[in-house]
Symmetry: C2
Subunit: 266 residues, 2 copies
């Protein structure tokens, strides 16, 4: 394993800017924080440029790091706790971040490679970072074949999204800035049924049999699915309600529906 | 409807302290923020002491307020935007908070009054405010009969919990600071089966028939359900996994299991 070098001020400055969306976009890199997430990044096929650790009180973590299989071309950098705080927006940090290069997945040729039975999740302007992250984590649990995010969804590389994914981002094919309308048309050509979820009036989930190939759409927290997309639906489903709440959180709906689609799929 | 009076400095100070747990506990009050939540509080049987609005740019909201049925004994107070910021920890505020008195629900006599078919949710040290709030909202959707929170769960009146409940706190019987062990013993005496959820090795959810009376336990985000409680389980269930994620978010698990318990209940 390579040895750690002290981080230069200019490098610290460049990396700390990655906490802002505009620099992630111009530099094509993002920050991944915490032992578990850094480990997932290293095990994945994503390109890790550097690992930065805080020198303060992190003996255990550094010990852990030494047991990892870190490729030779990954820079290992060390800094003071004060410097490290510029690389994180969490309060209780584990003192480790990785700088990872953004992968720009393309949907070209994607549909053809999918297995006969597959589930795609499409997010229509989901806005809350925690929701997107939790949805990805849930998709990862249920082995969803891919997730597409519409252009106005919250940015995937936002640190809160990354944290909430718990590493799912490194396991799943995720496509961002997608024109949902044309993507859904492509999916249909590939034999996918478009399933939307509505608060009421849809087919009750427990009476619905999921087709072999489904693209399941979830909408914005406030406005739901856009009309344009709703009109493309082959089926609309509703999670039966027995109480008084006006709505379910979108990530909760996603979990309930994916469980049904996976477990009760015909 | 009463008319608005300017808030006094001392009152502003007293109320702003309710953003802190220790003052909520000594004063027995908490803050509820935003139009929807304040409306839910007013419609409920919880005691609202005062409503405070910001005078700045909130004409629409105040218009909305005038359509509400506000009891004569609720004080209506107005303050500047700057003063209002002392009453909120959100960035994008709607300029309205209510001061609500904490209800101390007791489990004495609770079990006897429950219907033959009922579901109770028990949270064993769930620590994240967003998770607790989302779980309560989900319980409210599925018409759960009551929620019990163990002593080390995150505080119910935390503003993030309240926000994430989307009003569920005003619909559901919620019991806090509960000794989970003795409560589960009481539930059993009342004919409840204790169901725990485990990441793997439990009975697959889709093969499980929920008994008429279930108390379903969810554990801490990191440590899961405590051993002591796990040993009291009549059944352990697992949500089938098809992908790579190491775990599911606890609120997602709760949603999936409540949907199954409600919809597929025999």
């Amino acid at each position: 394993m390579n040895s750690f070098e002290l981080i230069s001020l200019s490098r610290l400055k460049t990396y700390s800017k990655l906490l802002q969306k505009k620099y992630r976009q111009t530099d094509g890199k993002f920050l991944v924080e915490g032992i578990h997430l850094v480990e997932e990044a290293l095990k994945s096929d994503w390109e890790v440029e550097a690992i930065v650790v805080s020198d303060h009180g992190l003996v255990k973590e550094i010990g852990k790091l030494e047991s990892w299989d870190v490729r030779q071309d990954i820079e290992l950098l060390e800094c003071s706790e004060r410097e490290f705080n510029k690389l994180t927006d969490t309060v209780t940090s584990q003192g480790i971040v990785a700088v990872v290069k953004i992968k720009y997945n393309t949907l070209e040729g994607f549909w053809e490679k999918l297995p006969e039975r597959s589930i795609i999740v499409a997010l229509d302007d989901v806005a809350d970072p925690g929701n997107i992250g939790t949805i990805l984590r849930t998709c990862d649990w249920f082995g969803v074949d891919g997730v597409v995010l519409s252009e106005n969804s919250v940015e995937l590389y936002n640190s809160k999204v990354i944290r909430s994914t718990m590493g799912a981002i490194f396991h799943l094919p995720v496509f961002i800035d997608v024109d949902l309308r044309s993507t859904i048309q492509d999916a249909r050509k590939a034999g996918f049924n478009v399933i939307t979820t509505v608060l009421d009036g849809g087919k009750p989930l427990n009476k619905f049999s999921f087709p072999e190939r489904s693209i399941i759409v979830f909408g914005n927290e406030t406005h739901g699915i856009s009309k344009e997309i709703e009109q493309m639906a082959d089926a609309s489903i509703t999670i039966p309600k027995y109480g008084k709440a006006e709505s379910l959180n979108v990530a909760i709906s996603c979990g309930i529906i994916l469980n049904a689609a996976s477990t009760y799929q015909i």
